[in-house]
Symmetry: C2
């Protein structure tokens, strides 16, 4: 099996003084870029956030998860519905939007994000998926247009903890043969 | 970078006579099981389909993509909203459903599926994401309850082609710093 899939943990404590090298950030972005997507539409965008003030505001709207601030970098991961809907009609997406295309771009962007997460593990970096915020609040902070959807914030830095593996369901509870 | 992220291609032609060893299928499932998910809810289920008749029906409702049938295995990947909504109310999910939880379980199941896809590459197997079917049709064929959502079919087998890498957007077109 791929080592990084086995060793990856969600990291919520990072080494304070240790920044992340820019070339490593670029390597993560390259790994996301290589993800497959429906009809190769590549709906993903990424905002690299290092600013103290912006990270504080993002942690605040993420239900004040203070642990996030120990990560020197947040990667805000965004899905763009314009990769599939090109008509020039105004759109505002949020958690309750019914559009089929929104489901497709969330799927594809999640794939790209997980490439990035596994690549970080390969480079000795820690990450954690965060998605506990409202679309309205996060878009306002980052000036993201209303027709985009923020699939997740990935916190990034050198880990300062080594969590044990969390429990998973048994294989027999999730695996079926030939039919449900 | 992780080698499998670089070498993975969508494979649409598989070696006819070469089945996939059961222990490799189990390894793929283990890699999916290890995926992160919101609040560790693990919304994923997988149906391993080998039957000729079922694969034919799945290819038919996937807009008659005949290439699919050269794959000896289809892994049908399903997201279960009951991992987040436990009230006993009837639900029928489809492409137009507005539920916020549906967006969350699609995201998490896509992560698990991509673990499986990368693990397949590691084991010398080829895969292709397919998601061009209607929820109603695919659920009927596989007897999947109406409160589940089929995130994708992964075709699986030993590759009989070596496609070149497909084009990707430039990094500068998807990467932002500090703000959109």
């Amino acid at each position: 099996m791929i080592k990084e899939i086995q060793t990856r943990r969600s990291i919520r404590k990072y080494i304070d003084a240790k920044l992340v090298e820019d070339e490593k950030i670029i390597a993560l972005m390259e790994s996301a870029r290589l993800a497959p997507s429906g009809s190769n539409t590549q709906p993903w965008h990424f905002i690299i956030v290092k600013s103290d003030l912006t990270r504080q505001r993002l942690a605040e709207i993420s239900h004040h998860q203070k642990w996030m601030l120990s990560a020197p970098i947040f990667i805000v991961c965004i899905a763009d519905i314009r990769s599939r809907i090109t008509e020039d009609i105004a759109m505002t997406l949020n958690e309750h939007s019914p559009e089929p295309e929104l489901k497709q771009i969330i799927r594809d962007t999640a794939i790209a994000i997980e490439h990035l997460v596994l690549c970080a593990e390969n480079l000795g970096l820690g990450t954690c998926w965060v998605a506990w915020y409202s679309q309205d609040e996060i878009r306002t902070i980052l000036n993201i247009p209303s027709d985009k959807y923020v699939v997740g914030i990935i916190t990034l830095g050198y880990p300062d903890e080594s969590p044990k593996a969390r429990a998973r369901k048994k294989l027999e509870d999730i695996l079926h043969y030939e039919i449900w």
